[in-house]
C-alpha cells in the first residue's frame, strides 16, 4: 500500500514544497544557508552518494506479508501426521478457552507461532513492555482474556513494569515467555538464562515454570482456572525448550488431558440469604447510600444487575478501578462526577473493588457505614473497617440485592446528586475559561482546553457519545482529562495509569484498545471498526511511541494526543532543591508528530484550542476513512501546573472520575 506522510495543515510546518523530494529540499537549503565549508563538503559528499543511488526518498509502506499472513487460513495442531508439539497442545487449550488475542514481540517462537497458527488473533509490536500493556488494555476494555509474550531473559524482564501494572489492576493477563532448555540450566550456556518465576512472585496471581513436557495441557488448565475464577490477576507461564518442542503422538501421552468442562467450573460463590437481608436492612436505614462499583462489576458483566439494584432503591453509583463505563455517567444516579456529594454518603457498598482504599483515600465522612461484597473472605476488612462483609461473586450479589430491595425513591438524595454534578460541570466550565485565557496569553495550549476540546468532540458533536473508546494516560494531562472525559457504556474508558501508575505504556494500551474495537470484542461489538483515542504526556511518549508503527502496520486507527509540556509531570519537585531541576526537564518544543510521521502515521502539531479542534476533526476523518493513525502533539508549558496559572493542577476526588489509585 502506498502511503505518504500526513499533511498537518499547520502553517508553522516546514515541509518540502509540493513536487520536491525532502532530500532535494534539504540539499538546496544547506547550500543556500552558507554552511561552513567542511560541513558543506561532508553534506555534499553524503548527498552525492545518495544521488548516485538514483532514487528519491523511499516511502514508508506496509509489506504485503503483513496483511497476507495475518489473514491466511489457520493451521491448528493435530495428533494426525507427526503428532502435536507441546506448544501446539498449549495453543489448542488457549483456543478452546477462548483466548481472544496475543500481543508479543518475537521470542518464545514455538509458542507464539503455535498460538497464531491456531487462529487466535496475534499481533507483534516493537517492545515487550508496550505489547504487555496492549494485552492489558485489551482485557480491561473487553473483559476477555488475552496473552502477552516475550523471549527468555531480556524480553521477559522488559515486561516487568507492565506485569506489575496488570497485577495492581487485577487484570487476568496471561504472561508467556520462553526459557533456556532445562539441560542448560545453571550453566550460562548460550544466552539469556533467567529464573522468571521468583521475579514475578510478587506481581501475579499464579505462575509455573513448566518442566515436565507431558503436563503442558494440565498446566494450561491450572492457568485458565486462575484466570477465570475468583479475583482476577496475571498468570505467568514460562516454557523451557524441551516443553515447547516436545512431540506427542496422541492424547494418551499427556497427563490430565480433559476439556475445560472437566478441569474448571463455572460455579461462583453466592451470598448467604441472611447477609442479603442484613444488607437490605442497612440500605433501608440509610438516607444517602452509594455503591462504589469497581472493575469486578465489569469483569463479571454485572452492569445490568448493578443498574437494576441502584434504580430499585435510588442508590447512587460511583465507579472505581482501571476501567469505566459499567455505570453510565449519564444516569440520574451517577455519582462519578459528583464529588461534592461524597461526604454526604451515610452508607457505602463496595462491590468489585479489588484495590481497597485506606480510610481517607476516598472522600467519605468518618461516620459512613460500610458494606463490602467480595469473592474471597480473606480480603474482607482489609484497609477499610466494615460493618458488613459478604462473600460473593459480584453479579449474583447484585441480582440478589435487586431482587430483595424494596422499590424506593430518595428525592432529596437524587436532588443532591444532581446539584453536585452540576457544581462539578460549572467548575469545569470555569477552569476551561481560565484555560482559554492562559492559552491566549501564552500562545500555547492549556490542558483544560485539550480536555474540553476532546469532550466536546467526542460527546457533543456528530459522533454518538457511546462510540469512542478512550485511553487516558499520562499524569499531568490526565488530571484534566479525567474531569472532562465520560463513559456512557461498559468498556468505554481505560484509566491507563492506575494504582501502580506506570508512566509510558499508553501507546501500548491504545493499540490494545484499538485491536479490541477493530475486532468488536465483548462490549466493543456495537462500535466495531471505530477509531479509538489515546492520551499521554511527553514523558510517556518516550516509552512507547514506537508503537505508532504497530498501529500503522496493522491499520488499527488511533488518534493519540500527546500533552507536551517539556517536562516530567513532577518537575516541581526538582524546582525546590539545588542542582536538581535539569533532571526533570526535556528540550522544549520536541516534535513527537514528526516521529509519528516517520513511523508511517500522521502527525499534527497544535498550539491553540482552535488548532486542536481542527486537528481532531481531520484525524478522525482520516482514521475512519483510511484506517490511518495520527499523533496530535499539543504544545503546552510546564508552568501551567503552577499557581501562576490558576487553578494549577486540579487534584480530583475519589471515588469517581478523578480516581487513579483505587
Amino acid at each position: 500500500m502506498k502511503r505518504t506522510n500526513g499533511k498537518t495543515g499547520n502553517e508553522k510546518e516546514t515541509s518540502a514544497p509540493q513536487g520536491v523530494s525532502r532530500r532535494e529540499f534539504l540539499k538546496q537549503s544547506a547550500l543556500g544557508a552558507g554552511v561552513a565549508a567542511v560541513a558543506l563538503g561532508s553534506a555534499k559528499t553524503a548527498l552525492a552518494a545518495d544521488d548516485a543511488k538514483g532514487s528519491d526518498e523511499l516511502e514508508i509502506r506496509i509489506p504485503e506479508e503483513i496483511p497476507r499472513t495475518q489473514t491466511e487460513p489457520a493451521k491448528p495442531g493435530s495428533f494426525e501426521d507427526n503428532g502435536m508439539t507441546g506448544a501446539q497442545v498449549f495453543a489448542r487449550a488457549c483456543r478452546e478457552e477462548g483466548l481472544a488475542a496475543l500481543f508479543c514481540c518475537p521470542g518464545n517462537y514455538t509458542i507464539i507461532n503455535a498460538i497464531a497458527a491456531e487462529g487466535i488473533p496475534s499481533f507483534g509490536g516493537r517492545t515487550e513492555d508496550a505489547m504487555c500493556a496492549a494485552a492489558d488494555g485489551f482485557i480491561r476494555l473487553t473483559g476477555e482474556i488475552a496473552a502477552t509474550s516475550g523471549t527468555e531473559g531480556p524480553g521477559f524482564t522488559n515486561m516487568i513494569m507492565q506485569i506489575s501494572a496488570a497485577n495492581a489492576c487485577r487484570t487476568p493477563l496471561l504472561v508467556l515467555a520462553s526459557n533456556v532448555r532445562l539441560t542448560n540450566e545453571d550453566r550460562e550456556s548460550g544466552i539469556q538464562m533467567q529464573l522468571q518465576q521468583p521475579i514475578t512472585s510478587v506481581m501475579k496471581k499464579w505462575g509455573k515454570r513448566l518442566i515436565t513436557a507431558n503436563r503442558v495441557h494440565e498446566y494450561a488448565g491450572y492457568a485458565f482456572r486462575a484466570l477465570k475464577t475468583g479475583v482476577p490477576g496475571p498468570v505467568h507461564l514460562d516454557f523451557p525448550g524441551e516443553v515447547a518442542s516436545a512431540r506427542f503422538k496422541d492424547a494418551s501421552e499427556l497427563t490430565m488431558y480433559w476439556d475445560k468442562t472437566k478441569y474448571r467450573t463455572e460455579s461462583v460463590p453466592n451470598p448467604a440469604p441472611k447477609e442479603i437481608t442484613a444488607a437490605v436492612d442497612m440500605i433501608q436505614k440509610a438516607e444517602r447510600p452509594m455503591i462504589v462499583a469497581g472493575s469486578g462489576v465489569f469483569y463479571r458483566k454485572a452492569w445490568d444487575a448493578l443498574k437494576l439494584a441502584a434504580e430499585k432503591n435510588d442508590i447512587a453509583v460511583a465507579e472505581s478501578g482501571p476501567c469505566r463505563g459499567h455505570f453510565s455517567d449519564g444516569h440520574r444516579l451517577a455519582a462519578s462526577t459528583a464529588p461534592n456529594a461524597l461526604m454526604s454518603v451515610d452508607l457505602v457498598i463496595f462491590i468489585g473493588q479489588y484495590s481497597m482504599p485506606n480510610v481517607g483515600e476516598y472522600r467519605f465522612n468518618p461516620d459512613v457505614k460500610a458494606i463490602r461484597i467480595h469473592p474471597e473472605a480473606i480480603d474482607l476488612g482489609r484497609n477499610w473497617p466494615l460493618d458488613l462483609g459478604i462473600v460473593s461473586e459480584e453479579k449474583v450479589a447484585l441480582e440478589a440485592l435487586a431482587d430483595a430491595l424494596p422499590q424506593r425513591s430518595r428525592d432529596a438524595w437524587t436532588a443532591e446528586l444532581a446539584a453536585a454534578r452540576k457544581s462539578f460541570e460549572d467548575q469545569n466550565d470555569e477552569y476551561y475559561q481560565l484555560g482559554l485565557k492562559h492559552s491566549a496569553d501564552t500562545g500555547l495550549i492549556h490542558p483544560a482546553c485539550i480536555a474540553r476540546g476532546l469532550s466536546d468532540f467526542l460527546y457533543k458533536g456528530d459522533i454518538p457519545k457511546e462510540q469512542s473508546t478512550f485511553v487516558q494516560g499520562g499524569w499531568t494531562g490526565s488530571h484534566w482529562t479525567r474531569r472532562y472525559i465520560r463513559a456512557y457504556r461498559p468498556g468505554q474508558v481505560l484509566n491507563g495509569p492506575y494504582q501502580y501508575y506506570s508512566i509510558g505504556p499508553d501507546f501500548g494500551y491504545t493499540f490494545g484498545a484499538g485491536a479490541a474495537v477493530q475486532m468488536g470484542v465483548g462490549p466493543q461489538a456495537p462500535y466495531k471498526g471505530a477509531p479509538v483515542f489515546g492520551f499521554t504526556g511527553d514523558a510517556g511518549a518516550g516509552y512507547s511511541i514506537m508503537e505508532m508503527d504497530t498501529m500503522s502496520k496493522y491499520k488499527i486507527p488511533a488518534i493519540m494526543i500527546v500533552y507536551n509540556n517539556n517536562a516530567w509531570g513532577v518537575w516541581g519537585s526538582g524546582s525546590r532543591t539545588a542542582r536538581s531541576q535539569h533532571m526533570y526537564l526535556f528540550q522544549e518544543n520536541i516534535r513527537y508528530d514528526k516521529i509519528a510521521e516517520g513511523l508511517g502515521a500522521r502527525g499534527e502539531y497544535v498550539t491553540s484550542p482552535e488548532e486542536f479542534t481542527a486537528a481532531l476533526k481531520r484525524s478522525y476523518e482520516v482514521a475512519s476513512a483510511d484506517g490511518v493513525s495520527t499523533l496530535i502533539n499539543c504544545q503546552s508549558k510546564k508552568e501551567f501546573t503552577t499557581r501562576q496559572y490558576p487553578p494549577g493542577t486540579p487534584r480530583n476526588a475519589s471515588p469517581g472520575v478523578g480516581a487513579y489509585s483505587h
Binding site: E287, M343, G360, R363, N365, P366, V570, P647, P650, R651
Partner: protein, 172 residues
C-alpha cells in the same frame, strides 16, 4: 452570696458526663478503625487530651476543655502565616460550614456549635464550642469538619504543594 454546693455538684456531674460523652464518641471512631494509635489522657484540671493518627497519617491532638465546653484540634495546620490568603480562605471555608446553603446533614448548626480558626505563630487550630450541652453533636461536627478541611479544602484548593511540604505526601 455563696454558691450553692448542690449547684457545684450538679455542674461537676454534668462536666463529668460531658467528658464521658466526648471520650466515648472519640473512642468509637478508634474502635471502628477511623483513628489509629488512639490515646486519651486527662490532665485533671478539667481538660482531656486525645491523640490519634488519622488523615494523611497525621498525628492529631484534640483537647476537650470542660469549662470552656470547647473541642480544639490543636495546631492542626502548621505554617500558615496569619492574614495570608490561605489563612483567609480557610476561615471562610470554616465559616461556610454553618451556611444554610449546605444540606442539613453537612451543616454545622450555629445554634448548637460555634466554629472558628485560631492562628498562633502560623499554626492553625480549629476550635468548636458546644452550645446547649450537645457534646455528642459537637464531637461529630468537629471530626467531620476536620475531614472536610483535610479532604476537601486542602485537596480542592491550590494547596497541594502545602500538603507535600507539611504532611509528607508524595508528588503523585
Amino acid at each position: 452570696m455563696d454558691k450553692d454546693p448542690a449547684e457545684g455538684g450538679r455542674e461537676h456531674e454534668l462536666a463529668t458526663k460531658a467528658s464521658k460523652i466526648v471520650s466515648d464518641r472519640l473512642k468509637a471512631y478508634a474502635d471502628r478503625g477511623i483513628f489509629r494509635s488512639y490515646n486519651a489522657e486527662s490532665s485533671g484540671n478539667g481538660k482531656a487530651t486525645f491523640k490519634f493518627v488519622w488523615l494523611n497519617d497525621a498525628a492529631m491532638r484534640l483537647v476537650f476543655d470542660e469549662k470552656q465546653k470547647s473541642l480544639t484540634f490543636k495546631d492542626l495546620l502548621p505554617n500558615i502565616p496569619a492574614r495570608s490568603s490561605m489563612d483567609k480562605e480557610l476561615r471562610a471555608f470554616v465559616a461556610a460550614r454553618s451556611s444554610e446553603a449546605l444540606p442539613e446533614h453537612r451543616r454545622s448548626d450555629a445554634k448548637r456549635a460555634e466554629v472558628k480558626c485560631v492562628n498562633r505563630g502560623g499554626n492553625v487550630s480549629i476550635v468548636l464550642k458546644v452550645k446547649k450541652g450537645e457534646f455528642a453533636y459537637g464531637v461529630q461536627k468537629a471530626v467531620n469538619l476536620i475531614n472536610e478541611i483535610m479532604l476537601g479544602f486542602l485537596v480542592d484548593g491550590p494547596y497541594y504543594e502545602y500538603m507535600i511540604e507539611n504532611f509528607d505526601i508524595g508528588e503523585e
